[in-house]
């Protein structure tokens, strides 16, 4: 075992440097080499605390490996590997550097054993990923990126305040179970929640992800929310509240996703829905549920990545992404079509695809712990996922009415990346034991029993039936170019408008008051000028100094006044 104490994120930071200084094929080769080397190295790393440092008076633990963090470490390496292959054709240095640093920050965050280190990587995640959005170089991307950055930094600041309170309360900065006790627990919970796209805090995700570059979105979908899922699994397992938040997250995006036209935004909503399943699992907190949450995070990174990659390929080749503009692409993009369908089958949790082996764990856990209503909501959500992600995405992009676009399959590196992801989706679906052996707990769970398979197949078939029937009857919401209002309307339109009006009133009042006061002052000044002839220009030119002296006098008078009454 060589260099055990080298935290895995270091290699990625070096990778960022390499990406900044090299060009062309050499850069591609080196960038692929980094997740491979780092991943192989990580595979040999045993559990335990591998690095500790003293900073100020605190014990920092930048490298703690246990089953939970290792699991996320592996999947982040796989995601980085796939995404780098997918973006090999990109020549934009800023994107490549940001990609490496972003992956490195995500990996650093999951191995952080103390709150301070976590905070550092938490903020780094925000600052590195925003460049993937800005790299689209459109005005919408710029302002969406700004909004994204503000939300992310806000989450980091809340985390820092929470950590401060936590330290003041407990005297320790180690990042273990926190729980919703006291203001510290709540603040940290909110910070995690913002990054995890809890309802009402989710708008940064659906706002910014579809504005990023085709390759950038693939990376974004893999890391930010999954780091938050990891943090919740570490700090708040078994928190009752999470079950309901998670259940809400699985259901509400479905309605938005069904009517949304931008297919990558549909995927962004479905990302929230999938994260909802994980959050429910964490909230239930039994061994089976946590296993389900973690393994679903693992699978989601791959199949959501695959879907974003296929839509990225469509965007890259056609320049369009709205469902209303696309259709009939299967004729000229057969490979992309097939790979996209694999991803769609996985996210819909078809048996023999990866989504099935993890989603069913969470649902079984919900039933086992007596959360019947939650189970029903999850069932509804599963059907909804199948609708908007499983059918809608491939159908509107590749089939439906022929749009007349004749775009070819994307460059080989993109196809290869999608192919790897698709293989993983099917591989895990067929042989789930490989995934289960990595999980934090040993539960002996078997997804392929008669009830699971039957129930899931039934559900999927009837959903498909519903879609076909609705579509034939013309009742399915058609793809229209329209803007759908989400809660971000409140802070993007309502609040600014209200503020604008309020300030308009304030300025007017202020202006009038000011004029009145200035008028009086001018009168006084003229009086002074008349009394001391010729000094007029002197008085007006030193107005600023006079202003300052006035302040001095006011403050001194205030002090003295307080002394004498006090």
């Amino acid at each position: 075992m060589w260099m055990l104490e080298l935290p895995p994120f270091v290699l990625f930071l070096i990778g960022g440097l390499i990406a900044a200084t090299t060009r062309g094929k050499l850069r591609g080769a080196l960038m692929i080499a980094i997740p491979v080397i780092s991943g192989l190295h990580l595979w040999t790393v045993p559990e335990g605390v591998h690095l500790q440092l003293m900073f100020l008076d605190y014990q920092l633990v930048p490298y703690r490996a246990d089953k939970l963090s290792l699991m996320f470490g592996y999947i982040f390496h796989i995601a980085a590997f796939i995404a780098i292959i997918y973006s090999l054709h990109v020549k934009d240095t800023i994107q490549q550097v940001a990609a490496m640093l972003y992956a490195g920050s995500a990996i650093g965050a999951v191995f952080a054993g103390d709150l301070l280190t976590l905070f550092v990587f938490w903020e780094l995640l925000a600052f590195t990923s925003v460049f993937l959005i800005w790299a689209r170089r459109t005005p919408q991307a710029y302002s969406a990126g700004m909004r994204y950055l503000i939300m992310q930094v806000l989450s980091g600041v809340i985390l820092l305040v929470g950590a401060l309170f936590y330290i003041a309360d407990t005297g320790s900065i180690s990042f273990d179970f926190i729980g919703l006790e006291g203001i510290a627990g709540w603040l940290i919970f909110i910070a995690f929640g913002i990054k995890c796209a809890f309802p009402f805090a989710h708008t940064w995700l659906t706002d910014a992800y579809p504005e990023a570059t085709p390759t950038g979105t693939v990376l974004l979908s893999a890391f930010t929310t999954k780091v938050a899922v990891y943090a919740l699994a570490r700090g708040y397992p078994g928190t009752e509240l999470l079950i309901y938040i998670g259940a809400a997250m699985t259901c509400f995006p479905i309605f938005f996703a069904v009517i949304e036209n931008d297919l990558r935004r549909v995927l962004a909503y479905s990302l929230i829905n999938q994260v909802g399943f994980m959050v429910v699992g964490i909230g239930i907190g039994t061994a089976l549920a946590l296993n389900g949450a973690v393994s679903h995070a693992f699978n989601d990174v791959i199949f959501k990545g695959l879907l974003f990659m296929s839509m990225g390929a469509v965007l890259h080749m056609t320049g369009r992404i709205n469902g209303s503009d696309l259709g009939g692409l299967y004729k000229t993009m057969p490979k992309t079509t097939i790979l996209c369908i694999v991803g769609a089958a996985s996210i819909s949790a078809f048996p023999l695809f990866s989504g099935f082996v993890s989603k069913s764990m969470v649902m079984t856990a919900a039933i086992e712990t007596g959360h019947d209503w939650v189970w029903l909501m999850l069932l509804f959500a599963s059907a909804g996922v199948f609708h908007h992600a499983g059918i809608k995405i491939p159908y509107f992009a590749f089939f439906a009415h022929d749009s007349g676009i004749r775009a070819n399959d994307p460059p080989n590196n993109m196809v290869l990346a999608m192919f790897i992801a698709a293989c993983l989706c099917i591989g895990i679906g067929i042989y789930p034991a490989a995934l289960y052996s990595l999980l934090p707990y040993d539960t002996g769970y078997n997804p392929y029993d008669a009830t699971h398979v039957l129930a899931q197949t039934q559900l999927l078939l009837f959903s498909a039936l519903a879609f076909v029937w609705l579509n034939l009857k013309g009742m399915y919401p058609p793809e229209l170019r329209s803007t759908h209002l989400d809660v971000d309307w409140v802070y993007r339109r309502l609040v600014p408008n209200a503020l604008q009006r309020m300030f308009a009133v304030i300025w007017r009042v202020d202006g009038e008051v000011r004029q009145a006061v200035l008028g009086k002052l001018n009168q006084g000044q003229q009086l002074l000028t008349r009394k001391s002839k010729g000094a007029g220009s002197f008085i007006s030119s030193t107005y600023p100094s006079g202003n300052m002296v006035l302040w001095v006098a006011i403050i001194l008078a205030a002090y003295l006044f307080m002394v004498f009454i006090g």
Binding site: F55, L56, L116, F119, V120, E123, V153, V157, L160, V161, L164, F165, I167, A168, I183, P544, S545, N547, M548, V549, W551, V552, I555, L556, Y559, L560, M562, V563, F564, G566
Partner: protein, 492 residues
Amino acid sequence: MLAHLPILQVVLPLMAAPLCWFLNRSKLVWMFALLVCAATSVNSILLLIEVMKSGPIIYELGGWEAPWGIEYRIDQLNAFLLLIISTIGTVVLFAAQTSIQKELDEDRHTLFYSLYLLSLTGMFGIVATGDAFNVFVFLEISSLSAYALIALGRDRRALWAAYQYLIMGTIGATFILIGIGMLYQMTGTLNMSDLATRLVDVGHTRTVFAAFAFLIVGICLKLALFPLHLWLPNAYAYAPSIVTAFLAATATKVAVYLLIRFTFTVFGISFSFTTLPLQSILMVLGLMGVFAASITAIYQQNVKHILAYSSIAQVGYMIIGYSINTSTGVMASLLHLFNHALMKGALFLALGAVMYRIGSVQLSQFQGLGRQMPLTMSAIVIGGLSLIGVPLTVGFVSKWYLLIASVEAGMWPVAVLILLGSLLTIVYIWRIVETAYFKPPLPGREAVKEAPWSFLGPIWLLVIANIYFGIDTRLSVQVAQAASQSLFGINP
């Protein structure tokens, strides 16, 4: 020799200032001034070691015993301040010769150096002395030379800014003098420790209250506490670059020291914080300063103005730490003194380098400099990160202790406001970064060369110090802790 360290600190630059006129050759004078400054830094390091080892040093001038004679009293606090001022003064002076060649006429170089040394003398004197009237004398020495230094600026507005500073500074100094005079009238002594013992008996009289009010307002004017800050932005913006870097890193620090010295040592904690709602007044003014100055900074077009307003905001942080009125709070304040000197020293020197190359520090002129002056601009980025308070820089350390102090004292709204203030810092630093790195170079301007090494050396020395003391906090934290504990009478 060792016994005379306290007076050497002050006398060395005082004697050297007129000697500059005998050399009267720009380069020679520079080397001489540099030598003197370096000597004072060594002196201050020796003093700090001595004080940390064996407690406060008392030095009687001319052998006259206090309270009849003047005594110099160096404890951890003074030694810490002396170290900050002398080292920053030396590092900044390294770049001086290159910078003033562009910014000053040849015949003013000697004047510049001797004023620089005089200003340094004044600051050392204020910090080192244990005599209240002596404080006023040195305050005038440092202020008068500072006015002259600012007025040396090429920009014609420099004269006007210096004049405003003169008016305000004089009012401040007069207030301080009135305060000291009242104290003398009531106690018959000017020695600080003597004052402290005698004030207990007359502490309830209105004269002492009034003296306290005059002193506090006078000092707050000197340290540019909001809303008494109006003189500062122009004075910093139009002064020669080196003067800005020097004053920004040192002058307000000395005023903060005076505030701490008078309230804690002379008047005593119980008097200072109970007779007046000083704590809440200063807390509110500090917070308002942070927000008002940061927001103003966002809208400035001159980068020197941006950083000058940022200095006012940083003073706000120091005052917040001070007015929390716990040992940790004062320690955070002292740490921020040290750290802010490092950040602003680096940033203003980097601006000096930009001024040297393109002759302007308007934000619009920064377009494309990210590629053309990579080392200077990356120094500005790191200095800016430190100003924001990003971990692994000094800015983080002092903000951290400030937050800890406010949480410990149960003032968590203050903690939240401090963090929000930091977010504003991100905005104005980002404006500089965005212009320098993400906008195309100005059309029609020749390619700008990287700054010369005489600039890059001191700039990067300070930048590395920003990172080094952000990771290895032993020196700064230990000394600040010792100083604040001795102020609160806690024995470590």
